[in-house]
């Protein structure tokens, strides 16, 4: 019996790229289900995703990436998927990397896999500020949680049913999480809850259309402060 895999593609105003992402993903993995989670887009994201053949879940208004991802977890739980993979709707993630993320899960070597841009040097095309921010957060969390993670902010990830079963009830209990720190919080939670994480090398393409929604310039400037408050919050609220 082949495992049930869901590929979720959160998208907010990605009309220029979402269709192409859906088509290439569906062509590569016809055996997997593809669902686009529209985060209240006000352009033609929904129409283009449907036209490309994806199922679309629409949030009633723009809630942010973290809510879109948690909606994906809800759907995976409701429909009993064994594995979930997240690919961004902006075309920066290569669907060809999906098997790399799934392999450790299929082999039961991990509960969550994270696509890292920094396991190999040639993938690093980002600005010095972005790279510095990622290095800072990854190093800090690695040191605090005694784990090895090189790309904590990477959004190309995959989860097993077990991981989602553990994480989703916690998200439903706690307060709303901002997009910029969602992956940091998830990594901390996974580490605390004993979920096994593994990084695999991926290639991230440069953004061709629009701007990053999670890391605008003001958010980038505030990021170190936000990260420290998250770590403090986690330390204070830990049982």
């Amino acid at each position: 019996m082949s495992p049930k895999v869901l590929i979720m593609i959160p998208a907010y105003n990605e009309e220029a790229t979402v269709g192409e992402v859906v088509k290439s993903t569906m062509a590569l993995f016809p055996e997997f289900d593809v669902v686009v989670i529209d985060d209240g887009s006000d352009d033609k994201t929904v129409e283009n995703a449907k036209e490309a053949g994806a199922n679309v879940v629409s949030l009633p208004f723009h809630c942010g990436g973290s809510v879109a991802i948690q909606t994906g977890y809800c759907i995976a739980t409701n429909f009993g998927y064994d594995y979930v993979v997240k690919v961004d709707g902006d075309g920066q993630h290569k669907p060809e990397d999906v098997p790399r993320l799934l392999d450790p899960l299929f082999r039961n070597e991990a509960d969550i896999t994270v696509g890292s841009r920094y396991l190999t040097v040639e993938n690093n095309d980002d600005s010095a500020v972005k790279t510095g921010g990622r290095f800072f957060s990854s190093t800090l969390v690695s040191m605090l949680r005694k784990m090895e993670i090189t790309d904590i902010t990477s959004g190309m990830r995959a989860w097993s049913r077990k991981a989602i079963g553990v994480l989703l009830p916690i998200y439903m209990e706690r307060k709303f999480i901002e997009d910029s720190v969602f992956w940091v919080i998830e990594t901390l939670l996974a580490s605390k809850l004993g979920l096994r994480m593994k990084e695999v090398s991926i290639t991230v393409l440069p953004r061709r259309h629009g701007k990053s929604k999670s890391f605008s310039k003001p958010k980038m400037l505030m990021y170190p402060l936000r990260l420290i408050t998250v770590l403090l919050e986690e330390a204070i609220t830990r049982k």
Binding site: N55, P60, C63, F79, F176
Partner: protein, 130 residues
């Protein structure tokens, strides 16, 4: 002869209390909110009609100027309100996001089970049967 500030204070107090009762009758305000604004109106009325209470306030803060005592009280009250409203907004934001998430997931599940009845439970059942 009443001082002008007493008249303004009384008018403010009466307005708040009457508005509070009006909104309660229209069921647009709930018990806790009604009691809070009633107390605010009553305190303003009390301080306006009994000026001696202001002297107590200056004694409490150890200030000489009455206006300083009133400003400090107002500022602290404002900060307290701001803190409470910030907390409430954050709580409401969380509830709203969860609601949006659950509604979207439920709508999708319903749509899928209508358009493709084999997609959800039926498929799981088939797998079990195999």
């Amino acid at each position: 002869m009443l001082e002008r500030y007493t008249l303004v204070g009384l008018a403010f107090s009466l307005t708040i209390i009457l508005l509070d009762f009006y909104l309660l009758r229209k069921r647009k305000i709930q018990g806790r909110g009604f009691v809070f604004w009633f107390i605010v109106g009553a305190v303003v009325g009390l301080f306006s009609t009994v000026p001696y209470l202001f002297a107590l306030l200056t004694l409490f803060y150890g200030t000489q100027e009455l206006v300083t005592a009133i400003t400090v009280t107002g500022f602290l009250f404002f900060l307290l309100m701001f803190f409470y409203l910030h907390y409430r907004l954050s709580e409401l934001q969380t509830q709203l996001m969860k609601l949006a998430m659950e509604i979207s997931a439920a709508k999708y599940s319903r749509k899928q089970s209508v358009t493709n009845p084999k997609s959800e439970n039926t498929k799981e059942q088939e797998d079990k049967d195999e």
